[in-house]
């Protein structure tokens, strides 16, 4: 078998950024930034050197984790769970009207802008900042936590649900309108059934997320296991703190498993 005399053809993947000047320029810029950032930020290497053994001591003190004060742990977790479930229920319920308002295809412009504004405001601050505000407003304790996470849930679920509503099959809406259905009837029959699986999935995800966040907002005084964790650290009771962390991980794992299972089943 002879092949025609010809150089073997070659092929290379085209570069992601076609312009070589831009490609290498960006790379250079990145390197320059890293050098500048590490050079100018006040990293105190001496202090870091001292801190490492201390970190070792903390971790060492955490082993073995101590479940001796399990009643405290249980109380804290019960409160966190209550906060998370309550906030998820409230947030998911309240997110529905705001999502409907913030869906461009079913709401008139002024209502749409109002809905979007509510969602944007409730999304613009991290729950910890919101928790600090609510603790200042309603005092230490679980109420601040519930309010914080409710707002957080409205923002997140509302935004994603609104996007889901904007992508529904419009034919089903037309069919209900053609039958003489009013706005609310059309919502119930043509819109909600289409976004229901997504809303259930979002709610499960939000429960997950609220469980995690309820531990964090507890640190600033909004109730729940976060407060217990903070106290344990404050008393240098690292063994107990580690026990709390382990249980948090376990709870998150379980809730992820459950929410994944539910989301699969709802279709």
């Amino acid at each position: 078998m002879t092949r025609p005399e010809r150089a073997a053809r070659t092929w290379r993947k085209p570069p992601f950024i076609a312009n070589p000047l831009l490609r290498y320029g960006l790379l250079m810029g990145l390197v320059a930034y890293l050098v500048w950032a590490f050079g100018s930020l006040p990293f105190n290497w001496e202090r870091i050197g001292e801190g490492l053994p201390r970190a070792g001591r903390i971790f060492g003190g955490g082993f073995p984790p101590s479940f001796e004060r399990y009643d405290l742990l249980l109380t804290g977790f019960k409160e966190s769970l209550q906060i998370a479930v309550l906030a998820t229920l409230l947030g998911v319920m309240l997110s529905v009207p705001f999502a409907v308002m913030a869906a461009r295809n079913i709401s008139p412009m002024p209502v749409y802008l109002l809905g979007r504004a509510v969602i944007i405001v409730s999304r613009s601050f991290h729950p910890v900042i919101v928790a600090i505000l609510f603790v200042a407003a309603v005092g230490f304790g679980p109420l601040a936590g519930v309010l914080t996470l409710t707002l957080y849930s409205i923002g997140f679920v509302g935004k994603l649900l609104a996007e889901e509503i904007e992508e529904i099959d419009w034919g089903q809406v037309e069919a209900i309108r053609a039958a003489g259905g009013g706005f609310l009837v059309t919502l119930v029959y043509a819109v909600f059934p289409q976004v229901l699986p997504r809303q259930v999935g979002l709610s499960m995800y939000q429960l997950d997320s609220n469980l995690r966040a309820s531990a964090v907002v507890g640190i600033v005084g909004a109730g729940g296991i976060g407060g217990t964790l903070m106290n344990a650290f404050g008393r240098y009771d690292y063994a107990f703190a580690f026990a709390i962390l382990l249980v948090i991980i376990a709870v998150i794992l379980v809730s992820e498993g459950v929410s994944g299972w539910v989301r699969k089943r709802i279709w």
């Binding site: 069919a175 039958a179 003489g180 059934p193």
Partner: protein, 265 residues
Amino acid sequence: MLEIANLIKRYGQDEPVLKGLDLVVEDNSVVAIVGASGAGKSTMLRCINRLVEPSSGSIRLNGTELVALRGAALRRARRKIGMVFQGFNLIDRLTVMENVLAGRLGYVSLFQAVTRRFPAEDIDRAFALMERVGIAHYANKRADELSGGERQRVGVVRALMQEPEVLLADEPTASLDPRTSEQIMMLLQSLASELSLPVLINIHNVAQAKAYTERIVGLRHGTMIFDGVPAEFDKAALEAIYGGIEAPDDELTAAPAGIASGEES
């Protein structure tokens, strides 16, 4: 009786889609509306139940002017206009029965609709109609579990649940296989005479239009250029409606040459 007079629809400043359409449909007659894609068939049908807002003109159903209606009055008028869609437009995640009862949503209260507590006579009527078209045993199945033909039957029953005074069918058979689409056309034809309803059917299939309807209306570029009984619908009429517009069939016959004729539609 449905009377359309001087119906005009234009989107923005574009060329009007409908240019002063006049059409009168007596009770108890089946009318096929044929025309190439973009001729305005669908727009005309949707103007009747106001899914599309007419720019001007008059549409009267049994004496009631539909074009000026708003709000609750519009919803009351829509109850009397059944519509069957090309894509069925069933609520996929609800049961067949709920889809059928959706035809009553213009009549029941919000509470009844949400809790699915429809009046007994509605349920009875639903079962009777479903039996009539052979889908009663599917009542509790989810709508998306049905085949295309079965789903369109649900669509037809939903429209009939409205106790309509006119039935609009927007390409009801275009998503179906040839056999099933024949069955649906037969069903529409026999229902029209049983319930003495005027039926308007947008359709691409000229053979079916001739076989199952009593009157054919041809649209081209938003004006009516043919109106007569199927026997009068000859080659010349077909040419007038579709001529010069590349239909898929033309492309097939021209395909071996492999070169587009350059007449882009």
